[in-house]
Subunit: 117 residues, 10 copies
C-alpha cells in the first residue's frame, strides 16, 4: 500500500470547519491466514484542513488492498495513518465493516483528532 | 455560477427566528476530472434575517451548475458563500449528498452562524 | 385572509397546561410568482390559555388561502400571528411542509412562547 | 358521563411505584357542532396509589361517551379529572388521537402529577 | 371545463402500440353538495393513436376543476370523454382516488377501448 | 334501518360500465347478544346502471346502524339488499371486516350481479 | 401460584453486575371477572446476586397461572415479588403486555432495585 | 442523438434466449416547452440475437440527451428504435419513469418483438 | 473450554483507542438440564490494548462449546473471563441472545472495563 | 443416521389428501471437508398416506446429524429417503437452505411422488 497514490487538492475554504463523508461498499482484500478474499464497507469521515483527498485517487488507493493479505484491524489503522499523513485533517474517523467469514462478522472503528494549536 | 441570479424578497417577520428548509434531489453538475455528470441531493436550511431566497430563482441558480466542472467540496462551499452574500442569514447549513461513482458515495456538510451583535 | 373567521370556545380546564396538535394534509394556496397552485401539510401545536380554536372554523379559515397568492414563509407566519391574536396561547408552533415544485420541496417552522407573568 | 360507573379494586402493591398503560383504539363520541360521530384512540398511563381501575368498568365508562356531544379537548380533560377523582393516582396521562374530519386530525395530551406529601 | 385547453402533439411512432401513464396526486375540486374542497389522485393510462396529450396543457386542464362543483363519478367520466375526444386513443383508463370525507373514501375507475377497424 | 335515507343521483354515463368503490373504516353497530359496540370497515364496490348513490346520504345511512343490535352477517346482507333496491346496479359487492372480539375477527362478503336482459 | 416451583442455580460470577433478559410471548391466565382466557407477553430483566433462575422451572412456574383468575396488575407484581423472594436480585423489572379485550389493551411495568449495603 | 455512439460486441451464446436488464436512474434531458431539465429512470430489457450493447458506450449515448429538448414519449421510442437498429434483438422493452413536474409524474413503456422467421 | 485455543496477534496501533466488534449468529451449545441443543448469537465488542484476538482461532474457540452442557449465564461470563485473560483489553462487552426454548427467549449481557493506571 | 429413531402414528384421515409442513430453522451438521459446522433451515412438506411422523422423534432424528460430516446434497436426499421409508407418503418434498460459507449460500430441493395404483 503506497500512500502516495493518494492525490489531494487545495481546500479552498480553510477558514471553515466542514465535514466530508465518503463510503465505499465495494472494498476487498485478502485474509492473511487463509488467502481467501474478504469483503467490506469502508467509511471515511473528516474535517479537512489545508487539503482534501481527490476521490478518483482514493478509488485507486483502495484498489491497492485487493491482493494484499492483511488483518481487518491493520487495514483500518493503516488507512487512518495514511490519510492523517496525506491530509493533516482536523478530525478523521475510519470505520470498516466486514462480511461474514465462517458465519462471523467484524466491525473496526478508529478515530483521530488534531491537537488545537 | 453567478450568484446574482438569486432573487430575494423581504422577510416580513424579521422579529422572529424561524427556520426554512429547502431540498433539491435533482441537482446535477460535471466531474472536473472525467467530464462525466454527477448527481446529488442538496439541502439548504436557514434562519432568515432581512430577506428570504425566492424559490424559482434558486431553481435557476442550481441550473447554472448543470454543465460546470467542479468538485463536490467546492460546490457545497460555493453555495454556502453565495447564500451568505445574498441573504445575510442568521444561520445556514448546506448539505450535498452524491450518488455513487466507482461504487463510492460522498456527503459534504458546511454551516454558518452569524455573530450576534 | 380574515382571521375573524376563526371561532374559539372557552378552555374549560385553564388551570392545566395541556397540548393540542392539529394536522391538515390538504392545504392548498396559489404561488404569487406563477399563479399555479401549491399543496402542503400544515401542523399546529399549542398549549391553550383561556380559549381553544374550534376545528370547523379552522377548516374554513384554511379555505381562505385556497385562491390566495402568497409565499410559503408568509403563510406560515401569518397563521402563527392570527392564532396568537385569537387564542393568546401559552405556546404555539406552526409547521408547513410543501410538495415539490420544479423538483424542490420546502418546509417552514415558526414558534411562539408567551412570556410568563 | 357519570364517573361512578368506574369501578376500582385495591392496589395490593401500594409500596411500589409501577406503571399501567391502557389503550382503547375503538373510542367514539359525537361532534357537538355537527351531531356526527367522531372516532379516536384513547391512551391512559398511570401510577396507581391505593386503587386501580377495573378494566371492564372502564370499557362501560367509555361507552357513556358514545352518544354524547362533546369537544375533543373536553373529553380528554374530563377523563383525566374523573380518573383523578376515582383513583387518586400518583401520576396520570390521557392522550386522545382523533381520525380526520374535513381532512384534519387532532391529538390532545393532558397530564397530572400528585403533589408529594 | 373546456376540453380545448388540452393541447396535443403528433405521435411520431404511430406504428407501435405503447403505453403512457400519467399520475397527478395533487388534484382538487369542490363538492357540489357542501361547497367544500375535495382532494384526490388522478391516474391516466393510454395507448396513443395519432396524437399524445401535452403534459403542461394537461396540468392547466386539471386546474379548471379547482373551483368547480362536480361529483367524483362525473369528474372521472368527463375526463375520460374529453381525452377520447382530443386524443382518439387506442385504449384509455382513468382512475380517481379520493381522500376521506366523513371518514369515507371513494375510488372510481372508467375505461375505453377503440373498436378495431 | 330505513333504506330511503339513501339518496341517488342520475348516472350521466349509463352507456359505459365503470366501477365505484367506497370504503368506510369508521362503521360501528351494537352486538345483539351483549349490547356492546362492534367496530368494522365496510367496502362497497359496484357498477352503476341508471343511478349512483350520493356519498353524504350514504354516511347518514351508515349512522342508522350506530345504535342498532344486529349480527355481522345480517348487516352485510341488509346493506346489499338496500343498495340493490335503491340503485339497481349492474354488479355490487359488500365486504364487512370486523375488529377482534375475544381475540376473534370476522369478515363477511356478499355479492350481486344483475341478469342481462 | 407456588413460588417454590422456581428453581435457582448458583451465580458463578457474583463479582460482576450483568444483565439477564427473559421474554415469554406465550403467557395465558384467566380473567377474574369473566372467566375468559387472557393472553400476554411477559418480560423479565434482572441483575443477579447470588443465584439465577433456572429457565425450565420458570416455564413450569408460568404454567401455574394458566387456570388462575387474577388481575393483570396482580400477576405483574406477584411475579416480581416471587422473583425477589427466590433470587434476591440486585435489580429486577417485570413487564406484562396483554392482548386486546373488548378492543382495549393493557401494559403493566413494575421494577425493584436492592438497597446498596 | 447519434445512434452510432452505441457500440456492440458479439453475443457468444446466440443459441440460447436469455435476458439482459439495464437500469439508469440518472437520466436527464431538457423539456422542449420550458427549457428546464427533466430527470428520469430508464430501464432497458432485451433478449439479444447476434450482438449485445456495450455498457460504457450506452452511458455516453445517454449523455447525448443531457442538453437535448425532447418529449418523454419521443425519448422512449427513439431509444427503442436506436437499439433495434444497432442490436436487432429478439425482444426489447424500454421504460422511462419521470420525476414530478407541476406535481404530475409520467411513465412511458414501449416494446418490440422480432418476427420469428 | 480451553481458553488457550484463542490466538492473539500484536496490536500494531496501541497508542490509539479503537473499537472492534465481532458478531457470531451461529453459536450452538447444549442445555445442561435436557441435553438438547441451544442456538444463539454472540456479540463481542472491545478496545484492544497490547493484543487483538485472531478471528479464526475465535471460531475454533466457539466450536469448543458445541457439545458442552452449560447454562447461558455461564457461557456469557466464561467467554468474558477468557477474553479478559487472553487480551487484557481496555474495555470488553459480551452479549448472548438465545433462540426460544419452550417459547421463552433469553439475552445475557456482561461487561468489563480495565482500571486506568 | 439411524432412520428408526423416527416414530410414526396412524393417519386417522387416510381418505383425504392433506398437507403437513414442518420447518426446522435450527439444523446443524458438520462439513466433511473442513470439519467445521454448517447451519441451515430444513423444510419438510408431505401428504401422508397411512402414517404421520411424530414431531418429537423427528427432533431427535435431526439431532443425529449434529456431529455427522456430510454434504448438503446428501443430507437432503438422505432425509428424503428415510422419510419415504418410514412414511410411504403420497407426496414429499425436502428443502435445505444453508447459511453462507465463504460468502456463498446453497439451497437443495428434492421431491418424491408416489405412483398412483
Amino acid at each position: 500500500m503506497k500512500k502516495d497514490i493518494l492525490e489531494v487538492f487545495d481546500n479552498q475554504f480553510p477558514d471553515r470547519d466542514y465535514t466530508i463523508e465518503i463510503v465505499n461498499p465495494e472494498f476487498t482484500s485478502v485474509c492473511p491466514k487463509t488467502g481467501l478474499p474478504d469483503f467490506g464497507t469502508i467509511t471515511i469521515r473528516y474535517i479537512p484542513d489545508k487539503v482534501c483527498v481527490e476521490l478518483k485517487s482514493l478509488k485507486y488507493y483502495f484498489l491497492e488492498f485487493r491482493n494484499a493479505g492483511i488483518f481487518y484491524e491493520n487495514i483500518t489503522n493503516t488507512i487512518l495513518d495514511h490519510l492523517i499523513d496525506m491530509l493533516n485533517p482536523r478530525e478523521l474517523t475510519v470505520i470498516t465493516e466486514w462480511k461474514a467469514r465462517g458465519g462471523i462478522t467484524e466491525t473496526v472503528t478508529a478515530s483521530y483528532r488534531a491537537e488545537k494549536i
